[in-house]
Subunit: 198 residues, 2 copies
């Protein structure tokens, strides 16, 4: 299964684009998007600005790629869960667990996504996809309620926002280097679905 | 109980300082703290910059006042709850409910607080008070666990972060003009303590 390495090394646009994206996202999260220049990104990689422009059209493309990386992960999780032949309450629980894992795996990308306020068309598009994901979770709560799996006394939209609020809070306190995402996904699912009270 | 109004009107430093703070906090949340100048704050009130400096030493004092308004609300809630003669699980639930109400009542101030990243001494001091509040919630979870009121299979620090993550998510989606904070406090308490699953 080990392919010859040499032919892959020439160019490697995918690899180089990825390196630029990783460096950019780190700077966006450290300094903020507005305070980061293409020069800063090039400098942090030890390459020239024109080398960066060889792979990327500009800062906005990097922002879009970062947000897509986060959103694609969430929508892939939703797609996988949708395909399961399970009651809605169990699909909802799996989606919430998977969202925690997506956030942990794509931590820097999700952090970029959650800080965006909709100042540009690219940001507005990402916010629209976030709302689409929220709606998808809300619909799953509604369906679970209709099936009798979720208690009837909670508003589905509020429940969805609070579930995702719990998940998204990881950007504030989770440390990817420390890990433990599985245990956190368990804790989120236990609290949200079974409750803290014994 | 109606005191004569005239003597209060002269000067009213408390009132004027409050107006400056309200205007500043609105701009901090709209444009960001760094992008807001003392001139912007004066302009939004239709007064001169020197009138603003008559009440306030500078932008950093406004930031500190805003964060204190948020933190004081949370610590007052913690103080009230501490005084109650109830099992820890019930004090914890009340503190979480009260935190939702503090966030709704002091929405703009809490929003300022939660966006702060610790770039200055004033911000670091506020972050330290936030951590103190987190620890207080963690200790309450531990105590409730020791009393058998909280399930033993959740880590207290993780539980505290997730509870506060749910509460703090309101800054992303709650609309103070629409209201409904009591119903949201109920939803948070129901999900966190009883769980969504029927």
């Amino acid at each position: 299964m080990t392919a010859p390495a040499a032919p892959r090394k020439r160019g490697r646009p995918g690899h180089d684009q990825d390196a630029v994206l990783t460096a950019a996202v780190r700077l966006f999260n450290e300094r903020g998007y507005d305070a980061t220049s293409m020069f800063d990104i090039a400098e942090s990689l030890g390459i020239t600005k024109s080398s960066v422009y060889h792979h990327i059209s500009g800062k906005e493309q990097l922002l879009q790629m970062a947000m897509d990386r986060a959103l694609d992960g969430l929508f892939e999780a939703a797609g996988e869960v949708r395909a399961l032949d399970l009651p809605a309450i169990d699909r909802l629980e799996r989606l919430i667990r998977r969202s925690v894992l997506v956030l942990a795996e794509r931590f820097e990308f999700v952090t970029v996504l959650l800080r965006v306020r909709g100042n540009t068309v690219v940001e507005q598009h990402a916010l629209a996809r976030r709302r689409e994901f929220d709606t998808l979770v809300t619909d799953l709560v509604k369906q679970a309620q209709a099936e009798g799996g979720v208690r009837p006394d909670v508003d589905p939209a509020t429940a969805a926002r609070l579930l995702l609020g719990m998940v998204n809070s990881l950007t504030e306190w989770y440390r990817p280097r420390t890990g433990g995402a599985d245990a956190i996904a368990d804790a989120v699912a236990t609290i949200a679905f079974e409750g803290l009270r014994r």
